[in-house]
């Protein structure tokens, strides 16, 4: 758990005057910032409530403005898709933060009584909140694991929130990181590799026969949602031409218009069988529409060029014996379902790897977040000054050797004084602003301006040292 703690008092290693400056600037007060997520998704909530809960794109801007107006919410982002509605926020106090967001939902969805959805809400804070965002972005929390849409939806939600200036330093980092985590998961695991829908599984199978589908011709016998989706996928993958036949010729004409295809009358389609590389059959007939003889003739006319057949009708419309003909590949809906199930199982396995990546990235994120604390930043800044002083002194040590001890002391004092004067205002400002809304921004600015993160990284690099250095400044501050 990493509630950000903003201490006023800090240790010093430099000189008394800096110490004093620090003390007078900041009394010992403490406030914390928390990242929280409150929301509901397809697992916790039935569609009837989810649909009422969702916030449309048109409403989103206004909703963000309202969210930000709640006291104690520093940053906020709303993600609303058909499977989830979530608010991610940076709040000053954990419990009141949760309360505020529940109030926000209550205010926003007046048509629903809070009892209806209160139990469905999940509340995450700190590590778990960030982990949740990373998992959502990587599609680990999706209904179909690995589906690609969620990342786009998350990016859009982030864009809008940024435009509304609802997010700040912390959420910007959370979501940028989430997007990069999602990309890493996509490239390093096979989570999105194989088809998990019947129609897509059909396309993948076709590719195992034909390699590339460019220039192939397809024949659709019958209609139906799944069949049409398969045709759409085939066309997207380069199939050149689609012929369509249905019992009712008008339907065929209608469908042909939609797919830019050629309508055929039901009684004439067998003549065109030999032209089709891919045949999808989906009719309501109770008998075999395509017989062994049909295909036998077709394959002869095709001079053994393979035919790929998909039968998604129940009862089946293609005689299963067709599969025994050489160079004919027939699959029914159960075969496709088998592939889908296997692929889903494969994705589950890959999801384990993805969770590992998420944990890894969460650690990296925590490191960054820790750097936003004031105390380590002040320590780092002072150390940097001290380091510069030491290095420069060493450089000039031979030239300074001619000075008397008294003169050396004067020079030392002069240098210390210059450093302290220079550091005084940034340190005071840092401590003052630490407790304001923009605290993180100031810390981030100081770290960049003085290039402290490079030093921090070097010191905290796991390969460079075994002990956990990053914890040191905190402990130091707390023991004081």
């Amino acid at each position: 758990m990493w509630a950000l703690t903003w201490y006023g008092k800090a240790s010093t290693r430099l000189s008394k005057s800096t110490e004093r400056a620090g003390e007078e600037a900041a009394p010992d007060t403490e406030s914390s910032l928390d990242i929280i997520v409150v929301g509901l998704n397809h697992r916790t909530t039935p569609i009837e409530i989810r649909e009422k809960f969702s916030i449309s794109d048109a409403q989103l801007r206004e909703a963000l403005i309202r969210l930000k107006s709640y006291h104690g919410i520093d940053e906020g982002l709303i993600l609303s898709t058909c499977n989830r509605v979530e608010v991610c926020a940076v709040v000053q106090q954990l419990q009141t933060g949760f309360q505020r967001i529940k109030e926000f939902f209550e205010d926003y969805h007046t048509g629903l009584s809070p009892e209806e959805w209160n139990d469905s809400l999940y509340l995450y804070s700190a590590d778990e909140a960030v982990r949740h965002v990373f998992r959502v972005a990587s599609s680990l929390d999706s209904m179909v694991i690995g589906e690609p849409q969620i990342l786009g939806q998350l990016k859009e939600a982030f864009d809008i929130a940024m435009h509304q200036k609802a997010t700040g330093v912390i959420l910007n980092k959370v979501f940028r990181k989430a997007i990069s985590v999602a990309k890493r998961v996509r490239t390093e695991t096979k989570i999105a590799e194989n088809a998990v829908s019947i129609s897509f599984a059909a396309v993948e199978l076709a590719k195992k026969v034909f390699g590339r589908l460019e220039g192939k011709e397809a024949l659709l016998v019958g209609a139906g949602e799944m069949a049409e989706l398969a045709v759409r996928h085939l066309l997207d993958n380069g199939v050149r031409k689609v012929m369509i036949t249905t019992r009712n010729f008008d339907n065929a004409i209608e469908l042909a218009k939609r797919f830019d295809g050629i309508p055929l009358r039901l009684e004439e389609f067998p003549r065109y069988l030999a032209e089709a590389d891919i045949l999808i059959c989906s009719t309501g007939a109770s008998h075999y529409v395509i017989s062994e003889e049909h295909i036998d003739k077709a394959i002869q006319r095709r001079k053994n060029r393979p035919i790929f057949l998909i039968d998604i009708s129940v009862p089946r419309n293609i005689d299963p014996h067709v599969n025994q003909i050489d160079n004919v590949f027939l699959y029914d809906i159960d075969d496709l379902q088998l592939i889908v199930d296997a692929n889903l199982e494969g994705r589950q396995k890959e999801a384990l790897k993805a969770e590992g990546i998420v944990s890894e990235e969460l650690q990296a994120f925590n490191k960054w977040l820790k750097s936003l604390e004031v105390v380590p930043t002040i320590t780092a800044l002072r150390e940097k000054a001290e380091e510069i002083r030491r290095v420069e002194m060493n450089k000039f040590i031979s030239k300074l050797s001619r000075l008397s001890p008294e003169q050396r002391e004067v020079v030392d004092g002069l240098i210390a004084s210059i450093i302290n004067k220079l550091l005084h205002s940034p340190l005071v400002a840092l401590k003052d602003e630490a407790r304001s809304k923009n605290g993180a921004l100031y810390v981030e600015a100081v770290r960049r301006l003085f290039n402290l993160d490079k030093d921090l990284h070097r010191r905290h690099h796991p390969a460079a040292s075994d002990k956990e250095d990053s914890a040191a400044p905190d402990e130091e501050a707390e023991t004081k």
């Binding site: 034909f210 390699g211 001079k303 053994n304």
Partner: protein
Amino acid sequence: MNVLFLKITLACYLFGTVIFLIYLLAGKKESFSRFSLVMTGIGFVFHTMTLLNRMLEAGYVSLTRLFDAMAFFAWALVLVFLLVELRFRIHVLGSFVLPLALISLLSGAMLPTEMRPPDTTMRTAWVYTHTALALLGAVAFAIAFLVGVMYLIQERLLKSKQFNNLYNKLPSLDFLDDLNHKAIILGFSLLTLGIIIGAWGAGYVSGWFWDPREIFTLAIWLFYLIVLHGRITVGWRAKKAAYLAIIGFVGVIFSFVGVDLVWKGQHAFI
């Protein structure tokens, strides 16, 4: 030196083969096959050095000894695989090519390997070119054979709906059929050229023998001619083409090695 290089080559190919087979059957990631590619590459370098070293020591192009012919065949097979790999990135081909190269080189190495220089009349560019072309043709037919085996495996998996690791790794049927066709065209062209040069050169070197090797080679040439013709006219493609490529290569092996063992004609490897 020669023997050391040969041993290193064999070790690399053996190791590469094992990794390639694990990659294929255990469904390892693409990155896994990189080890075997590296092994193949290193093996190929030593293989090349083995051949060069042997010829430098002998002072002539040695292809007429059966060991040399088989070593050259294996070398060209690996070379073609590496080239195809660079172009198409189908690591899985290695799982088939490398074992064959290994078998060829290993069985060659079990034959007597000491040099036995051929007659000086045989040390002409005609003979070298003729032999090399015939061997390269055999390499192309070997590729067609391997691709045919891959085709039959993949076809069987698709028909029986076994969507396992092997199915995932093997390329599509169309791709394999196309590669089969191209390999046979290439092999046929090389063989034709080899025969022409052999016949032409024979006039200068020794005249026609009409020995079993020549008769067999002509039969093979005719077989592949019919295979190519049949694809266009009566549709000997897909599964049939895969079978034909396998049958053809069995004939090639016989004319390559078997003929010598049975008849030991004048045309034989020494």
